[in-house]
């Protein structure tokens, strides 16, 4: 099953490599991983998406907790949560196709953030599924470049991951 694991870790050099190293050493898979400092500059927040049986996920959370640089973790998929991913996508936009692309971007509630005579660069945020659907709707031939941020997640309601 797919799990989204949120990790608060010391904002120190090498902390990221400890997490990444743990996953490769123990053969766990990483679907996506994002990391950036939080409002407390001594802490980084990481969102990690992985897949595995319940036993594997239990080991992953235990092994993560064992890392000295990991301060706190939460498996977001255990409760109601929100997940978002941001994508920047550069599209070939020429002739009649330009208008059609513009409409599609609007339907998906994206923004065109850069324009040239032959391209649009679109910013789109949503769940991974939504981004996949947009890519499919556009069609491969028009895509020049995609950049996806990987999933960021947060628990719904009062529940929060903090010190």
């Amino acid at each position: 099953m797919r799990h989204i694991i949120s990790i608060l870790l010391e904002n120190e050099s090498g902390a990221l490599s400890r997490v990444a190293g743990l996953f490769s050493a123990r053969g766990y898979n990483i679907e996506s991983l994002t990391v950036a400092p939080t409002e407390d500059p001594s802490l980084s927040r990481m969102t990690l998406v992985t897949r595995g049986s319940d036993d594997v996920i239990e080991q992953i959370t235990k092994q993560l907790n064992k890392l000295v640089d990991v301060v706190k973790i939460m498996d977001l998929t255990e409760g109601p949560h929100l997940e978002r991913e941001m994508m920047l996508i550069k599209l070939r936009a020429v002739g009649d196709g330009r208008e059609e692309l513009k409409r599609l971007v609007d339907i998906f509630r994206g923004h065109i953030i850069d324009v040239t005579a032959s391209t649009y660069t679109v910013e789109l945020t949503g769940t991974g599924d939504k981004l996949d659907a947009f890519i499919q709707a556009i069609g491969e031939t028009k895509i020049l470049e995609t950049v996806r941020s990987g999933v960021s997640g947060i628990a719904r309601g009062e529940k929060s991951l903090h010190l």
Partner: protein
Amino acid sequence: MELTGAEILVHCLKDEGVEYVFGYPGGAVLYIYDALYQQQDVKHILVRHEQGATHAADGYARSTGKPGVVLVTSGPGATNAITGIATAYMDSIPMVIITGQVHTWAIGSDAFQEVDSVGITRPCVKHNFLVKDVKDLTATIKKAFYLATTGRPGPVVVDVPKDVTMQRAEYRYPEDIAIRSYNPVVKGHPGQIKKAVDLLLSAKRPMIYTGGGVIWSRAAESLTEFARSLGYPITNTLMGLGGYPATDRQFLGMLGMHGTYEANMAMHHCDVLIAIGARFDDRVVGKVEYFCPEAQIIHIDIDPSSISKSVKVHVPIVGDVDHVLKDMIRLLKEDLRKPDQTALAAWWDQISEWRAVNCLKYDRQSPLIKPQFVLEKLYEVTGGDAFITSDVGQHQMWAAQFYKFDKPYRWINSGGLGTMGFGLPAAMGAQLAHPNDVVACVTGEASIQMCIQELSTCRQYGLPIKIVNLNNRYMGMVRQWQEFFYEGRYAMSYMEALPDFVKLAEAYGHVGMSIEKPVDVEGALREAFKLKDRLVFLDFITDQTENVYPMIAQGKGHHEMHLSPERELA
């Protein structure tokens, strides 16, 4: 008081109560060596190879329960230390390894003797640090010792660039330290402990299985009280030997791949199993599907990730083994219920039958020296009270089977990583820690050659270790597997052109003895142990064909254990 980084480092070691540092100098650590040279409190032991330094510090730690300390230079100094660091990591041994590093301004430039020590050691340490500022040095060393010795112990590497050892800073060693992300659980959950006690008292065929966690939690006494109060049978893992007195009648011997028949059969048939400070290693468990098929399992461990990792347990208890055992003992004393004596008597009758198989029996009439015989005699001659280190292979298993350890910290071997070359340097650490005690290294002619250079270190510091070399001219365990599983194709497991170990020992300034007949074994051992101030290399020429029995083949269950072929049960 303002000191240089090098002086600060040495002061930290002194304030941590460090007696010995095992190391080897080099460019990046010259300031540290200069500071060591100018004081008397922390003694330095100069090894001949950095692997030797790590194993010696490890042997010091395993024989005392205190952390071992290593000092090596950057680059090859650090890479040579890796095997010893990984060895300590696999067996959860507290060590602090200080590696020199190139100047901070040269890091990342492929400088002379530069290696990314933090990166290269990361998968085999509990934690590691790169000190970039002399102001952080004191707190980092304090953290390193704290991390190495608390919770589930392990090695911690501190990488110190050369310029950090030159810079000056104020020195004051912190009394204690807190790490917000690191708070090992000591006390077990009372509800879980209660559940475990209920389960233990309901058992008809109980079994106690304990590992190295008992040793490191200093819980041998509590374990003995716990096991005796219940009267239940007990087995130790390879790492747990000495955690319970081996001469006690409740002790069934070691379990696992080369464990005793009675221990493995009792594991297979028990209905309640309590695992204490043991991690269900593959050499212990065999095939997971066949493991203790009828048992409800209780597991006490300080490391939550050890629980239900390979074998699912029913009552997990996270906590320090000694602490949890003491809680259990108290609950058992207060409890009005007692173990079911009728069921227990029947269980012991069954165990006695398994014991009567006498699974460790070997041919005593052989004209060749049987390795088991040497170990029996070693046990007798040392009165069962020596510090025994071993290398890895057949001799290691025979030592574990035939030397009965009644006390913790006496049995020192590389269990998890299985590092050949461990025995001799580990014996150096043990002998330095216990100068008035008997230290013997049980080894084979293949293993001993992996760190043979340390004979020179032994000479320099006058370490009177007794080396018991079981010389069968083969990598015995490799040969055994080739005999069993590769149709007798002994690929590269025979050693031609072995050195004359007697002359080799003499060349290093020690005493060498060669023993070729069973009748001479005891006399040679007695003679060797009489030479109290000399290292003696006893080269026993043993039966080349001897195999370690009993044996559970890889991927089989405890009930599928084999005795020696001539004695195989129908």
